[in-house]
Symmetry: C2
Subunit: 203 residues, 2 copies
Amino acid sequence: MEKTIITIGRQFGAGGRELGKRLAETLDIPYYDKEIIESAAALSGLSKEYIAQNDEIVTNSFLYSLVMGTRTLTGQKTVEEIKMDAQREAIKEIAAKGSCVIIGRTADYTLKDEKPFRVFLSADEETRIQRVCGRDNLSEKDAMKKIHKMDKLRAAYYNEYADAAWGKADNYDLCINLSRITVEKAIDMIIMSVREPNCFRNI
Amino acid sequence: MEKTIITIGRQFGAGGRELGKRLAETLDIPYYDKEIIESAAALSGLSKEYIAQNDEIVTNSFLYSLVMGTRTLTGQKTVEEIKMDAQREAIKEIAAKGSCVIIGRTADYTLKDEKPFRVFLSADEETRIQRVCGRDNLSEKDAMKKIHKMDKLRAAYYNEYADAAWGKADNYDLCINLSRITVEKAIDMIIMSVREPNCFRNI
């Protein structure tokens, strides 16, 4: 397999982390999710805690920056800008090393010149509620609230930094709904896609 | 294979018709696209020409109906409503007969109780322009204009009648970008999806 970068966008609670890990294991390539936070911290000088707390959240509106005191009017970078620059640099360094699976953080957009294979994972609300209830020990009502909140944050973050629409089919190469398609089949589809043409029929 | 209804939404010029036909041939099941127009005409008493001319176009805004003289204020159905009712009935009759592939016309929404397998096909603008130039004998500029216009019409029509967002990934089971994924692979993915779990590894 040539160098292959697979980026995965995902709705909250759809199972993106599980699928991404298994995909990377199957292909025997590295997997990056929260690992990006550490690299971005090292590159920026900001604390891991700050970056983790503001992970995949957009906080750079002018008003927000003024209120939070993070905007300077002297042309210096805001903390948010330092965080985003470091994150982009971390993602580019990761991709430069070789094939990998990268979750979220607008990696598809940051790496657009490398033409990564761009996946988006969704699932029906019912499936996601069940997953989040079990995983985060929440009531169905609270799980639903969290899903809506997190999807809103991810969409706002993506739409701000990627200059494209989060979850819009034509922004990706393959979008899979994990309520109707098993994780195993989804992994097979992604592998089929990144391999040479028509390998499927020869497996 | 159990009864399987596959609905295909598609961007203009993405290659939905070609893929749909080949998918139906591969599965040896009927394919419906413009054939729906004839059934809707027969069911409604409206002419084939009228339905074809207004195929996948929303014309039922109150203002439009008033201007066009198609709205009655006496509680009778407008021509647009008669057309849409007949189209929905035609789609339900088609689905009742057995497995099939249905293109566009909000079939995914009309048949939602049957839980069809919902596909959406996209392609990058460049790919679509090339296809439309060749197929419709247009300049690149005119092909691009037509693509934008037709996508807008399809989105408006879908969003009006399906009460959902056209081309939004989580509204479908599988969204495939045909600029990066071959038609052959896309067909294989759809067949994998509608077959029993994990058949892929046993083919």
